[in-house]
Symmetry: C2
């Protein structure tokens, strides 16, 4: 399982992913699920992945190959695509075709699936964030729905529903995604540390902040403990 979340706010975009991959409970590994594509000052794209590792790794590898191909065109390379919408289309098509190919090798019963969050901005364009479904179609984050989640999304949604608005500051946004992840880590063993955090400030056209948070990170631990205390104190104060 996986938990990835992306916020699209007035000040910028904040992305957080876990790294746990498992093929059964007795076969657990750490794999990066956040990938950045950057030409500072021109274009920045962050992709987060959830689902079958064979599908997501192959899709990302093919996206990279297409970028590096000397004959890359705006129709094949996400770094040349004229708009972020076109980027989402390229990623969606690639994901759907890899998935179809792998599905074909597997029996129908154990079909492989995957979904992705694609966030970015190109010079002259606005920030955009998309959730790409396994079939390649996608939806976009909006003012009314300023966050997108993939993977094990339910445990961490209540906190986002309550605190995230387009006007949320980037610092509060980092707190919100980390607490959302914290709730998920506590409730689902198949989501695990370390975490990858990335922030793209509006119009900087680069990844402004990139941080890997290891298991036992004292700052994350302190925040998690403080949140537990705040919840318990808040709970104690409420009367019914």
């Amino acid at each position: 399982m996986t938990y990835c979340v992306g916020l699209m706010l007035n000040e910028g975009m904040v992305m957080l992913s876990d790294t746990r991959t498992n093929a059964g409970l007795d076969n657990i590994s750490t794999y990066r699920k956040m990938f950045t594509f950057e030409e500072p000052g021109e274009r920045v794209i962050v992709i987060m992945t959830a689902g079958s590792l064979s599908v997501t790794q192959t899709t990302i590898a093919q996206l990279r190959e297409a970028i590096e191909d000397p004959e890359a065109t705006p129709d094949t390379s996400i770094m040349l695509a004229p708009t972020l919408l076109k980027v989402a289309e390229i990623v969606g098509n690639q994901l759907a075709s890899v998935r179809a190919e792998i599905d074909h090798k597997l029996s129908a019963a154990q079909g492989a699936s995957a979904s992705m969050i694609v966030a970015g901005q190109r010079k002259g364009g606005t920030m955009r964030m998309f959730l790409i479904y396994p079939e390649g179609n996608f939806i976009e984050a909006t003012e009314d729905a300023p966050f997108l989640q993939i993977g094990e999304h339910k445990y961490g949604k209540p906190i986002l529903d309550r605190v995230v608005k387009p006007t949320t500051s980037l610092s509060d946004a980092q707190k919100a995604v980390l607490l959302s992840m914290d709730s998920t880590l506590r409730s689902n063993l198949s989501v695990g540390m370390p975490l990858d955090l990335a922030v793209i400030e509006r119009d900087t056209l680069r990844v402004t902040l990139r941080r890997r948070i290891e298991a036992g990170d004292p700052q994350f631990r302190a925040m998690s403990d403080a949140w537990s205390t705040a919840l318990r104190e808040g709970f104690a104060k409420i009367t019914i």
Copy 2:
């Protein structure tokens, strides 16, 4: 969808269920999902249900018929069964057989399913709480796992994980299940008011408190608002 939760604590048991039933988003009804069977001073049983209404209604109706049957035996009536374990077995068998019968009428693709929480105490016995699976097998709440949930359980689990222990008071327990329900109501449209709350104090052998909480209940609304405020204030205080 449905959300039902039961806590088994040193002081007693607390049960909460919603009442929303839907066959598609355009066909929503209110049905009670909490059923009490009581012979005060002798035996008290509360059953909560989730899943296909045709399965749960039929199962409950058949359990009632078996109780009222003049030839009821300890093998067929949950009010005569010698132990709560036997009660769980009777409910499990009934549920599995109703489900199999209805499954047989439907195509395999749209098979009906349901699960239940059975909580109770008989004179001379201890309090026990079981989660009955669609196949009729069951698990029991323990000191280490003092709560059971059926239906849409993920949104409301983080708060329970954090505050519920066997030593939690019945008043705090009511607060915990109501806040757990509040998070679920906010995140899933197919879980809805009114709510049914029941408390069984240890060794009283009756339902000590029974309360229906209607939509717009001022007390529930105040608690929900206070919790939102507490979360936001707690969030604001945390530094990263």
